[in-house]
Amino acid sequence: MKVLMVDKEKCTGCHQCELWCGTEIASTSKELAGAINEEPHPVPRVYVEGKPFALQCRHCESAPCLDACPNGTMRRDPETGLIYVNEQTCIACWMCVMVCPFGIINPSSSMKVAIKCDRCRNMGYPICAEVCPTGALSLVERKDYRKKKF
């Protein structure tokens, strides 16, 4: 499957991806000025923390969030392999928050649903990669680490 990778030489840690994810994906107004003033605050799905690196859901091959979700709210799209939250059925039990090894699933500001990156599965291309001013984010095929090296 494809994964989002970050070129560490290009990522400056400018948080543009976070800002746009929060505006375009999380907010209701879809405009920066409106998003900033929204209550509760929109929660972006990408995190630039610790290092100049934009971290989103890695869509794990064996995903702890899928095993922990008690009502099938966390789902994997069989075609793309992308894991997403079916927000209508989320009961805010935070079991997924409890087990996500990357710490990228979080409660919404209203504490009603779990929020995570679905890599803009209903859009053409992930917004974070699209807006990155240095082109640091790109969608690449996941490396097969099990392949034997000769």
């Binding site: 994964v3 990778m5 970050v6 560490k8 995190y47 923390e49 610790g50 290092k51 690196f53 971290l55 890695r58 869509h59 794990c60 091959e61 064996s62 702890p64 095993d67 922990a68 979700c69 008690p70 009502n71 099938g72 059925t89 009961i91 805010a92 039990c93 935070w94 079991m95 928050v97 409890m98 087990v99 996500c100 090894p101 990357f102 710490g103 990228i104 699933i105 979080n106 409660p107 504490m111 009603k112 996941r142 490396k143 097969d144 680490y145």
Partner: protein
């Protein structure tokens, strides 16, 4: 290949999915003594709170059996298991043969031997039938006995429906297997703020009333009530395993090896019925929680379908969700003392940070996380969970782990030091960034 699954909850369904990921053709027969398929036990408190209707309790869609080519036998109990002949007998009078069988019979609610326990208006909360009974009780005052996760959630659920509830716990704090005293104090305050009376260190001695319960007599008082909910824990449902002569552990669960196989060849066990190696305790343990059941079912299914996969072990994980207004998560052991199989050389440490609204605690054994409690601020709980699961030394990163700036990228040096433990592609590709 003929597969038989005994049970119809998390471990069973997870095993079906794993079998079907490798084997699309073989027959799968699933037997459950409950009539309602595919509902999530974890959600029963939401049902009695009238927050979720019955269809919304399902964790898989109604066409799951059809989609996965499973023949369901709902409301059919398996009465005997012959591991030599590889057959089962059921209450519908039939005998079925299998090549691989999964025992996922789950747990059953403990009914404490308190005088008057058989009165009307007294129920456990484990099955759909229990939930419906409680839902229809039309009580005004309830006493919930046992302040574990289910007890607390059920108590709050009843309160949300306008029933005046008292929570009774014989130990000195709420959620004694989940939180330490300090976290429990924060949680208890929150429960009380919802209008619930919480009585700890107090034991139910008998129930009063003729036909229907009218009160609970404790060692300090009598609590008038017209309904009682029992939530004092669960025990593995092992009748079938015992009858079949499977090895039973000290904690009365079915012993399984790394492949989730029981002492009988081709007979596997997973979920609340299984006694597994607990990573945090470094001992056999019963972790009757949803994520463990699902994981174990997953590994059992893979092994049953012929792909050798070693289950890394279980560890407790609990989240209180949205019930008390703040998130609270706990995993592994709550105290260093609760660790069995400790040797003299083992060095234990507990680290705590308390602010007005938050509490964070780590329990370490030889520099490795074996327990974590997070109250109020729980966003990076999963990082503790993976470090606990992988049992890597984090002794030099304690300030980072305890701080609010904790994030995954800063843990990369720990992952790199233990690269053989983090062999999954999602970790490798991030280690490869060189950050």
């Amino acid at each position: 290949m003929r597969y038989i699954i005994v049970g119809g909850s998390a471990a069973a369904i997870s095993a079906v999915e794993s079998i079907r990921s490798l084997d699309h053709e073989s027959s799968i027969d699933l037997f459950s003594d409950e009539e309602t398929p595919l509902f999530s036990r974890v959600l029963l408190p939401y049902y009695i709170a009238e927050e979720l209707s019955k269809p919304l309790l399902n964790f898989r869609t109604a066409d799951f059996f059809e989609e996965n080519k499973v023949t369901p036998h709902m409301g059919v109990k398996v009465t005997s298991l012959n591991t030599a002949a590889k057959t089962i007998r059921t209450t519908d009078g039939q005998t079925y043969a299998f090549d691989k069988l999964l025992l996922a019979t789950g747990g059953k609610a403990i009914i404490p031997p308190i005088p008057g326990i058989d009165k009307e208006g007294i129920s456990t909360l484990k099955t759909m039938a229990d939930a419906e009974r409680i839902f229809n009780m039309k009580g005004k005052r309830a006493v919930v006995i046992g302040a574990g996760s289910i007890g607390v959630e059920a108590c709050i659920s009843l309160t949300r429906r306008g029933i005046k509830a008292t929570l009774l716990e014989q130990l000195g704090q709420v959620m004694p297997t989940v939180f330490d005293a300090e976290a429990a104090e924060i949680v208890q305050k929150r429960i009380e703020d919802l209008g619930i009376d919480v009585l700890t260190g107090e034991k139910a001695l008998k129930f009063t009333g003729d036909k229907r319960v009218t009160g609970v007599v404790t060692d300090n008082r009598e609590l008038p009530c017209d309904m009682v909910l029992l939530s004092v824990g669960v025990r593995p449902q092992t009748e079938l395993a015992i009858q079949a002569g499977l090895q039973i552990g000290e904690l009365k669960g079915v012993r399984v090896d790394e492949t989730m196989m029981t002492s009988a060849k081709d007979v596997y066990a997973a979920g609340d019925v299984a006694e597994t190696h607990d990573i945090a305790r470094n001992a056999w343990f019963l972790n009757a929680i949803w994520p463990c059941a699902f994981e174990q079912g997953h590994f059992a299914g893979l092994n049953m379908a012929g792909r050798k996969s070693a289950y890394p072990g279980s560890y407790r994980r609990n989240s209180i969700g949205n019930f008390i207004g703040i998130p609270a998560i706990s995993m592994g052991v709550t105290h260093a003392e609760s660790c069995a199989m400790a040797s003299d050389e083992d060095e234990f440490r507990e680290i705590r940070v308390r602010t007005k609204d938050t509490y964070k605690k780590l329990v370490l054994r030889n520099g490795k996380i074996i327990g974590a409690i997070l109250v109020g601020q729980t966003q990076k709980a999963g990082l503790m969970s993976i470090l606990l699961k992988k049992q890597v030394n984090i002794a030099d990163s304690i300030p980072l782990l305890m701080s609010d700036r904790l994030n995954f990228m800063d843990l990369l040096p720990i992952l790199r030091r233990n690269a053989d433990q983090f062999s999954e592609p999602e970790y490798k590709e991030l280690m490869d960034t060189g950050l």
